[in-house]
């Protein structure tokens, strides 16, 4: 097993090809929950877990059911089905098993189904023909990257609350411009690793 390659995959998907700043996925949630640090952290953790599990599930189903049956053209429908079913069941199980955890993270779970990253990861894994461990590494890296983006953004936006922003730019517009600047900074990571 080539562990170096897996590590490279994690780093590159977290930093170089960061989903938020270079591929622009998951922006709705990125701007939606980055107002407070606490929610940003909660979202990142939930997101990372859902992402890894759904990538693993999708890989198994893609490899052992869809390819043998020649059903790959249905991948959009099937992947979104897997994610939605998994999120729904995680929601139900969590409510029953650990109400304390559900109270903390349940809100974010409901939001996750409409996040583009969650469907982009299995599609990307299938497109690149990753094996099982590579798929998980990619999901892990993307999850870490998304968490990193959320935490950076939240820490800036908390400071922004007290800043004097021109009225038309208050709220979302200024957040977009900040995201643009962070994205410019992330461009600096390109070339760090060449896969």
């Amino acid at each position: 097993m080539d562990y170096v390659k897996l590590f490279e995959l994690i780093v590159s998907s977290a930093l170089i090809n960061n989903f938020v700043f270079t591929m622009f996925l998951g922006l709705c949630i990125f701007f939606g929950v980055s107002k407070k640090m606490e929610t940003a952290v909660g979202m990142s953790i939930t997101f990372l877990m859902v992402m890894v599990v759904s990538a693993a599930l999708s890989w198994v189903i893609y490899e052992f059911i869809m390819i043998p049956l020649d059903l790959t053209f249905l991948k959009i429908i099937i992947f979104i089905g897997i994610v939605a079913a998994f999120v729904q069941s995680a929601d139900t199980i969590m409510k029953k098993v650990s109400p304390a955890l559900y109270y903390k993270l349940g809100v974010y779970l409901a939001l996750i189904t409409t996040n583009c990253i969650i469907i982009a990861v299995p599609l990307h894994n299938a497109g690149e023909k990753y094996n099982f461990l590579e798929s998980i590494a990619f999901a892990l890296g993307s999850g870490i990257g998304f968490g990193l983006a959320l935490v950076i953004m939240a820490s800036i936006r908390e400071k922004l609350e007290v800043a004097d922003v021109p009225a038309p730019f208050r709220g979302l517009p200024i957040s977009f411009i900040i995201a643009g600047l962070i994205s410019l900074a992330f461009t600096g990571f390109s070339g760090l690793i060449t896969l």
Binding site: F24, F73, I119, A167, F176
Partner: protein, 208 residues
């Protein structure tokens, strides 16, 4: 629900201006930046979304009395995914060069908050024709936003429109870079807020 009393034109207009997905509601933002580095890509995705949005609203509204409320979310997802697959396969066959660039984002339409939201909020409660108008209006609004953003980005970033060179000299390379997308959307949003506040006495400040 007073929405269904509006005329068809009012419904379409609402989607185009009043509740414009990108500049007003601030949802479905991902593609507004990802594919707007050129007019061609922006228009292609805009039209795809328009088609999916209209057809999903049509189908959901047609089936609204048969869908049990408890399982409506997975059903909506399936309907959306079905139409996205149609567009995906059509694009892959007939528009190969564009598909290579924006294929991933076409597939991502399935997770668009705006399409899902309209199905849930509007089509699920209204008759077929108003729903189609509403979906069409939302789609046109989305297309317009895509056109505006990609117009500025391609013109400033490459000095071109639809690939035809218009301005000579050094373009602002940053506008076609990922960072430029965020900046363009941020500035345009701020501009529309400013217009709204200055001339229409609105509160500005969209969503979130």
């Amino acid at each position: 629900m007073s929405l269904h009393k509006k005329s068809s034109w009012e419904l379409i207009k609402n989607g185009m201006f009043g509740e414009n997905t990108i500049f007003r509601m601030a949802i479905s933002l991902c593609p507004s930046i990802a594919v707007t580095n050129g007019m061609k890509n922006g228009v292609a995705l805009g039209i795809s979304v328009m088609f999916v949005q209209t057809m999903v609203n049509f189908t959901v509204s047609l089936l609204r009395n048969f869908i049990h409320p408890k399982i409506r979310i997975p059903i909506f997802m399936l309907i959306i995914a079905g139409y996205v697959t149609i567009i995906d396969l059509l694009m892959a066959t007939y528009a190969r060069p564009i598909y290579k660039e924006i294929g991933l984002y076409i597939q991502i339409i399935v997770a668009f908050a705006s399409i899902f939201a309209r199905a849930e909020v509007f089509a699920n409660k209204n008759k077929v024709w108003p729903s189609v108008c509403d979906g069409f209006g939302m789609g046109v609004g989305f297309l317009m936003a895509m056109v505006v953003i990609s117009f500025f980005r391609e013109l400033l970033g490459r000095g071109e429109l639809f690939g035809y060179s218009l301005i000579s000299g050094n373009p602002l390379l940053i506008m076609v870079l990922p960072a430029g997308g965020f900046l363009a959307v941020g500035l345009l949003m701020g501009f529309f807020n400013w217009v709204d506040m200055k001339f229409y006495g609105g509160k500005g400040a969209s969503g979130v």
